[in-house]
Symmetry: C2
Subunit: 77 residues, 2 copies
């Protein structure tokens, strides 16, 4: 089982993308982990290391997909 990490910050744009991720990702292949960077700012470093520049973002197999634009990671620090 591979892991898909969805980073968000609770913003409206994030919520729409979260629904998409929850609904459309193949859960037989991916275990989806959802990280709220607003509430867990200690994970911002992990997100940056993975290449995340803004939220919402989905990291699949070390590839980052920025989905629409909610907030810059810089603004969450």
């Amino acid at each position: 089982m591979r892991t898909a990490v969805f980073y968000h910050a609770g913003c409206p744009v994030c919520l729409g993308a979260e629904q998409m991720v929850a609904d459309a990702i193949d859960h037989s292949k991916y275990q989806v982990e959802i990280v709220h960077l607003g509430e867990n700012s200690d994970h911002i470093g992990d997100a940056e290391t993975a290449g995340v520049k803004s939220v919402p973002a989905l990291v699949l197999n070390n590839q980052v997909f920025h989905i629409n634009f909610g907030a810059s990671l810089e603004d969450l620090k």
Copy 2:
């Protein structure tokens, strides 16, 4: 079966996102249609109507998700 439409233009950013869409979308729920707007510019109008501003983009249940940024729709006209 719902339809997911993935619009792209063959750009490198598009190809990465296309792989993600092909691999990670739950194909038991969604029939994925892939539209290459560079080769099928007559579909640019449909994409615009759906709310697509740039490619790659994924339209699920009338919601548009712009995934990273490859090219503006304006530049494909």
